[in-house]
């Protein structure tokens, strides 16, 4: 789960990581007041959206006066910010973070992630802050310091030393840097983060260190033990269809194409999307109804597919195991009868109770195209897409 920068900074503050003076604002008037409270300009006004690359598309503005801050707020609040990482539809801007602008003499990158190969948390640090760490790794791998943390012995002083000396920090900064790393690591563990990142961590002209930006992602599997974090979820930053799906424990991701697909199991769902693409069509979504879906989940999943206006053809690919084919077929028929469907549905069923499942589909009187295996299904989906292009449905 993602949270906003201002929420991450509040957590930083409670963990003793210094942040710039700032306030959030939801209206232009608030923005004016917020900058007046900070008193001295220049100010930085930052759009709060769950996506990176804000700065490059005008989501961040440096202004000299509260009036200019208000003008910027007036311009950007209520719009959708489209960045290189946000997808075409962009993310709505309804909150701004107004902060004092800081003059820095050094920009550091500091991040904590889980290293999958080692199976341990890893700290990444670099003196090349302010740009994406992936870029630094690509262009200047020697500039990134990595420390793997053993979960039992924890983060040790010698590791803090290796990071600070590796970045050639001098006297007073070493202690400050050490504190910030320790505090960020404590936050990472306490709140089950999947990513904790400060980019950049700046050294001000007066030698103080401040987290200019803040990014925290959380492990969805651990949210059950962090109700405080779960409460920070901002539904406006998520696709409405995806929110609807999560209510029924369905795993749905909206894509660009027009073949809506419903599959059980994430791996098979991805393979199904790949298959659709290979057959010359484009998947409209990723929808995994899970291994143990109920008739209700299948029905809701199917409705979800239909509520996507881009969908012209539906492809249902189920390998029954725990989810039995007859359960699936009942759900599909119920949903299809409830909502009048005017476009083709290709169904491929295999596995547990497949004969009963196919029988339910055939006896429903609805028009399903039944495919015998994956290859056959791909051909039938492609044919249906072409027919729909010619307006035959």
């Amino acid at each position: 789960m993602k949270i906003h920068e201002y929420q991450a900074k509040a957590l930083f503050q409670s963990y003793g990581i210094p942040i710039p003076r700032g306030h959030i604002a939801k209206t232009p008037e608030d923005t004016l007041k917020a900058s007046q409270t900070i008193k001295k300009g220049p100010f930085v006004v930052k759009a709060q959206v769950h996506t990176g690359g804000r700065g490059k598309v005008g989501g961040i503005s440096i202004v000299e006066s509260p009036v200019e801050a208000e003008a910027f707020a007036d311009e950007i609040l209520g719009t959708r910010l489209v960045t290189g990482q946000s997808g075409e539809e962009g993310k709505p801007v309804h909150t701004l973070l107004v902060e004092e602008a800081l003059l820095s003499k050094m920009e550091i990158y500091l991040g904590i992630v889980i290293d999958r190969t080692q199976g341990c948390p890893a700290i990444l640090a670099s003196v090349q802050g302010g740009i994406e760490i992936e870029e630094v790794v690509r262009e200047n791998p020697g500039m990134v310091i990595t420390e793997i943390i053993h979960p039992a012995i924890g983060l040790r002083p010698f590791q803090l030393g290796r990071i600070s000396y590796g970045m050639h920090l001098d006297g007073k900064l070493i202690k400050k840097m050490g504190n910030i790393i320790q505090n960020l690591y404590r936050l990472f563990l306490d709140k089950d983060c999947s990513l904790a990142e400060i980019n950049p961590l700046v050294v001000k002209k007066d030698g103080e260190m401040v987290a200019l930006d803040a990014k925290l992602n959380f492990d969805d599997n651990a949210l059950f033990r962090h109700p405080d974090i779960a409460a920070l979820r901002d539904l406006s930053q998520e696709n409405p269809l995806e929110i609807e799906a999560s209510k029924y424990n369905l795993n749905y991701i909206k894509l660009k194409g027009n073949v809506g697909c419903m599959v059980n199991g994430a791996g098979l769902a991805m393979a199904t999307m790949d298959l659709i693409k290979l057959s010359g069509a484009e998947p409209a979504n990723f929808l995994d109804v899970g291994g143990g879906a109920t008739t209700e989940m299948v029905r809701e999943g199917f409705k979800l597919l239909l509520s996507d206006e881009d969908v012209k053809v539906i492809f249902i690919n189920i390998f029954g195991g725990i989810l039995r084919c007859d359960t699936l077929a009942k759900g599909v028929v119920e949903a299809a009868q409830e909502l009048c469907i005017s476009f083709p549905i290709v169904v491929r069923l295999e596995g547990t109770n497949v004969i009963e499942g196919r029988k339910i589909l055939v006896e429903s009187g609805l028009k399903f195209t039944v495919a015998s295996d994956l290859g056959d299904a791909a051909a039938k989906v492609a044919a249906a897409v072409n027919a729909s292009k010619r307006g035959e449905f």
């Binding site: 199976g119 969805d220 994430a266 991805m270 790949d274």
Partner: protein, 306 residues
């Protein structure tokens, strides 16, 4: 004679002599799959549910702790059907009781819980399969998992996968072509897992009952890249691979927590390229995995006269 020989052929990790303890045997999932495993022929000798020690589940003795179960029944493998918040502890208990093979079927375990488990396992000889896996099956011998037994067929193809239903799809394609499997292992879809592709490839390479291995990978992480490296350096048996997720958008979680492409690492195209460079046959179309295995096997038979 032939029968006697076959009886002593060992498959990897589990076989007809494996004695299984089911942790969480009285829960919904645990109960259902215990019945399914027994029906398949797996020797389920014990169950564990704290507080229910002394009871019986359909004739199987239930114990409070894994240690009690091992002492009383000689169990040497575990199947874990415990809710996510307690599952990591269940794995630790099984490892501490020195079970040889520990299969954790639970989905949704917090990553940091698995960090501790992974480190603990480094000092142990136990092998962990999963979590978030359909399990492991050696067709005709033993099944520790949730896969439908009937789609499998005894034979000589080893299957390793990060996913569930996609594995069934591949196994089904193989069985329909009358190509049997020696063992099928789901290594699990989470970011931190026990045995990896490399660990299982190593077992299959040494396994006398396996001629060829199928890897079913997906986007995210470096598991397939490591497998390619291992294959190039250490394997004589052919490997066929499929990577799911070539159409996946970057940065999104596609069902499995492990299947996220972040920062340019773990994309399907990069993985396919690396596997092919190592000499692994990569299938692009998921409907053609079975026939590709058949083709590679045919070439190998004509070359080596197996």
């Amino acid at each position: 004679m032939r029968y006697a020989l076959r009886r002593f052929e060992m498959s990897i990790l589990i076989d007809q002599n494996t004695k299984v303890v089911v942790q969480g045997i009285t829960g919904g999932e645990g109960a259902f799959h215990t019945r399914q495993m027994k029906e398949y022929g797996t020797k389920v000798v014990a169950g564990v549910t704290p507080g229910k020690g002394g009871q019986k589940f359909e004739g199987i003795p239930v114990f409070n702790t894994v240690r009690d179960a091992v002492h009383n029944t000689g169990a040497n493998a575990s199947a874990i059907f415990v809710p996510p918040s307690f599952a990591a502890d269940a794995v630790l208990e099984a490892v501490d009781a020195e079970l040889g093979t520990v299969v954790c079927l639970t989905e949704g375990i917090p990553t940091l819980d698995m960090v501790a488990v992974k480190q603990f396992m480094k000092d142990s000889s136990s092998k962990l399969i999963g979590p978030n896996t359909p399990g492991i099956i050696s067709p005709g011998k033993c099944k520790i998992g949730v896969m439908a037994g009937y789609i499998h067929m005894p034979g000589r193809v080893g299957v390793i996968s990060r996913s569930g239903t996609l594995t069934y799809e591949v196994v089904d394609q193989l069985t329909k072509l009358a190509i049997g499997q020696s063992s099928c292992v789901g290594i699990g879809g989470d970011p931190i897992i026990g045995m990896t592709f490399v660990d299982i490839l190593n077992l299959f390479e040494k396994d006398k009952t396996t001629d060829i291995v199928v890897i079913i990978g997906e986007i995210g992480g470096r598991a397939e890249e490591d497998a390619a490296e291992f294959f190039r350096k250490n394997m004589s048996k052919p490997v066929v691979a499929f990577i799911a997720g070539i159409t996946a958008p970057p940065g999104r979680r596609m069902g499995h927590a492990g299947a996220i492409i972040t920062g340019g690492e773990g994309g399907a195209r990069e993985k396919i390229e690396i596997l092919e460079k190592a000499g692994i046959t990569v299938v692009k179309n998921p409907s053609e995995i079975g026939e590709t295995v058949a083709r590679v096997l045919a070439v190998r038979k004509s070359t080596y006269r197996l």
